[in-house]
Symmetry: D2
Subunit: 356 residues, 4 copies
């Protein structure tokens, strides 16, 4: 990491970037209010930091050992005096800001009518962002893979409905990209691109999605540690895209026999991530629980632990949903979840302790 | 399970118990307000339910297939019309009642002075129960094993300090029993016996502790599923002791690399357990986190998810604690945790939804 | 699954395929020596099996409930009377045949000279297939990502060296494809395409690689069950490509503290997979162990448990390897591993028991 | 650890032991052929090593940082020049010697007739040690807990049958102790005491069993790392009992969905343990697999990876076994397993490589 002097010129910055490239690395230039930081993408051992530190405009040049540097809190602190957390802005919504953000919608986009109705319900319940899957990752090739699997026309139709529903009910939109060939298409229509749990390790998909410049909602793999999760988020940041929303959605349950849930929601991951990185962290209780009767409790807990938002599956008639029918809540339930979560959020934020 | 008629006589009940024993099983007689239920301990396949169901006083006789019957919600519902959850009473404290219960204290009892001071701090912070380990389970034989390891005299001294501290500051007391030989000794002094995570599978210890009649604070093993946890809690109930407080304290973390915590606190376990059993469920955030700066957040989350109480390590000077110094909070922090948790609890309980 | 009569005509088969498509599913036609089987790709609940079973040429039509049908042993048995295991042929090498197959080579292709020298060493040691990574999946964006990351020219060069080395030393070649954009390029040069552990869930990559028609070496994810592993192998088969070589390479280790290895090699997976599917199963001990001094023991165990081959990292000078230096064996060590493994294989195959 | 000079007198050793006790630690005196080593049980930070190192007879005094010292290879090497592995001797059987040792028998002792017949079968098949459970750890209180659960008389009868069967067919015997109260009883009858997987963390049971002086067959918990396993084996050694036989029996499987086995047998644990400690390591494939059709393959793999022996459940009529009927092999199968394993063992031992 190279920290430039407060009065460093853009020529001096450009010179450093050039030097960095000469050693086979890429440079991530982060212009803060107070100074510019140049993060290095690649193996820093190749860089002669001593030589660089004496170049004009350079305040300090030193190696950062953690596998995630560009998204680490240290990096942010240097660039922007006092910055602890960044805000990802989508339309007029601030993820990571003062108030929790609620993402709701169906697991899969099923039809124009279904989506519009759910969008209206979500909006009325107080949600800010509409979710809807067009390309569904599934454990079995024999299961419904989303309307996107039927062809480009069907994919465009479904994505257009999502955009339409968002516009009509003043909701931002998010949809999952599962393969590289879907990235550009989805980016034409949706406000946020989601990388699902199973694709957390898919570095080529991460890089491609990052390059669209769209905010990325990035889910932790169910078998990944926090360190791995952040190391792969770094693949997004390394493309110059820092609009990353981290999402905890549950890890593999432990033990022999039944746990009565699908995944173990690791809520401690929220404050842990908030201490390691400046990125906003949200929680998806729906996929973790896999059952509707736990969503209220787990939503409350996620906000109480400090999450910046929730992603909840909702359907006006959960039992008729094609995918994951068992875990969707009703519009009325969503409304009550949002109401109670906002109250908890206010309570937590007014506490004098635990603010780190 | 054999459900007696409302007007069944105690002779009729005794006759059934005798029959059950004839087949090599034990009988757990549960007298509810409305009727008596006879639970069977052992292999129910040996029982001719058809024959039993026609005996005088019997309303219904049927096999229960789950490995935990005596602590299942069904069992409770039959015995006590409308009973969803039971309350474990210790002195004037109700665990599983209207308000959350807070257990606090040092990881290990270190000295008379240390314990009295911490008890006073805990009491002033609003805690109800004082914890303090005399027999410490440790991963290394070379680590401090608690004052109890020094001999019976030292064990009795430490236990007496615990009792004294509890009495002086109006706190109930809980201490861990690690081996069978410590059970009777600890039961002489403490109000509640704790079975630690590593001993969850120790069925001989469970049975021996259960037979003291003392309430048992029973911690889930870090590698155990919910089904296993309840199946072993059944070992306590099978001795006729239903004063069981279940405690979630974290499961094995997932993935390669760092998770920055010791165990993954499985907060969904709280509502899941509350749906499977009538027993109260509490959470220990201290051992899961293993770091002090997460205790506030995780305590709030635990209460928000519906826990009936918390068990928190506290020390007036955490850095000088002999065991687990990194995870203890200060008295002042405890006070703020208790304050905020009580507020969250009220908020959650006033919500119209999520009440199961 | 639809089983045709022995004397069914190709028109009758075509008619069934057409019917299947009418219901929105795809048909996998498998012509065995004795009869033709039509596997269904998609949700079988949409198919009226009763109607289909009375069409001309149909012997039997029934739903198969497992998520992996096309690669299940049952499917194979129907198509090919007596077939227990299939053989994947590459050049004159039979994977899944009478003798174990050995794949060896460097973790990453580093230079022309390096690869040729290792190929010669591998060949002389008795290996059949040369491995070499051009596109390296890495946990950190800051680590060396393979020569393929430098640009298409560098990727083509490295792949051409692999092909040249294979041809010169009479070895088949295998290389990993990490992203969709690399599939066609790699298929131009390599005999076998590898899907790495981290991409096991990447269904779009699986489908794209499958469609090249090349044999696919498919590695189990370190957090995946056997059922998931096979369900994702089914994505390859669903594209009509049954030349799949399954590879066990270790799962997440358990417990707190050190395990002194990187992943837990699940050797029971070998016979389990051999009982569930007809596909050949090999083992990669190098990535599981992550340390050279265990490779001999684990290779012997893998062959003893019944594996059809091994994939071993080898380097003439392990300590100078850019990637995974600690786990590569020397050419001499490889030779001794291959020698002892062949002896164990003969011994196991001559045993009268354990043949399933 | 304190290494005495070759010519140190026993008075000098006694003086050191006294010093060690003065600081609150226990001393483990290990008299090797060449010199005496004094291991320290307890917190070594309390010991002034500089002061000790100048006492008469002391060659070297230094702290050992690993949680397992007394069973570490380093400790052994100092005591006994050239010692890599120790042998546990039971009757004329050498566990950890030149040839693999086979332990076989029923999961649970069911009757006099059953045990004698199985002992004869085991003996004829080539087994060296007879296993038979009298006190059975079970996940459900409602399952058969072994004859020992019926009372002391029944326990003594079952243990006497075990001893009788061993004597009559020239087999050593091993039985599990599940609770502290069973230790002395079992030690009266059996040659080896087994600590089961679920009791690995039960330090009071370990200490009590160790103090009988009997060899301890110590099984790894299914949720324990190698480091934890050895740290708890140290509890046995700390009582002065180094006759410990380590046993790998499978860890928790990974992933969602089916693995078609009960536990994942971690065979790499065998060479890893052999590098960390001098104790012999055996494998129990029966409990890991939980199914009979995998026992042959996994037994072969266990011997191929270097295990010093196997523990296999056998029954003349597996389907009528009361406990774990699905995993027992027949006498004829056992015979073939032993035959093939011995051949593999010879082959492995004759290899010039992989000897560590």
């Amino acid at each position: 990491m190279i920290i430039m002097k407060t009065n460093a010129t853009s020529e001096q910055v450009a010179k450093i970037v050039e030097e960095v490239r000469r050693y086979g690395l890429r440079a991530d230039v982060s212009k803060g209010r107070y100074r510019t930081i140049i993060g290095l993408v690649g193996d820093e051992h190749k860089i002669p930091f001593d030589n660089l530190s004496v170049l004009p405009g350079v305040k300090e040049a030193a190696m950062v050992e953690v596998p995630y540097k560009l998204i680490s809190k240290e990096y942010s602190r240097f660039a922007e005096e006092g910055t602890e957390h960044t805000i990802v802005k989508v339309k007029d919504i601030e993820i990571g800001g003062d108030k929790p953000v609620f993402i709701a919608g169906p697991c899969a986009v099923e039809s124009h009518q279904q989506l519009l109705r759910i969008a209206q319900d979500a909006s009325e319940a107080g949600a800010h962002i509409l979710r809807g899957g067009v390309f569904k990752p599934r454990s079995s090739v024999h299961s419904f893979q989303g309307l996107g699997a039927l062809g480009e026309k069907e994919a465009r139709d479904a994505l257009a409905w999502l955009r339409e529903a968002g516009e009509r009910f003043n909701l931002a939109t998010v949809t999952e990209v599962r393969g590289e060939s879907q990235v550009e298409l989805a980016a034409e229509y949706a406000d946020i691109l989601q990388i699902g749990s199973r694709n957390m390790y898919n570095q080529d998909l991460l890089a491609k999605a990052a390059r669209t410049g769209k905010p990325i909602l990035f889910k932790r793999h169910f078998g990944a540690s926090i360190e791995e999760f952040l190391s792969f988020a770094e693949y997004i940041a390394a493309e110059g895209n820092k609009d990353i929303i981290l999402c905890e959605r549950g890890v593999l349950p432990t033990g022999k026999g039944k746990n009565y849930i699908r995944y173990t929601l690791d809520l401690a991951a929220v404050p842990v991530l908030q201490k390691e990185t400046y990125l906003p962290v949200i929680v998806d209780p729906s996929h973790a629980a896999g059952r509707r009767d736990l969503i209220f409790n787990m939503s409350c807990a996620a906000i109480a632990v400090g999450a910046s938002g929730l992603m909840i599956e909702m359907h006006y008639n959960p039992t008729e949903a094609i995918v994951d029918a068992k875990q969707a809540v009703t519009p009325d339930e969503l409304k009550q979840i949002i109401y109670t979560c906002k109250e908890i959020d206010k309570l937590i934020k007014s506490a004098s302790y635990g603010k780190d």
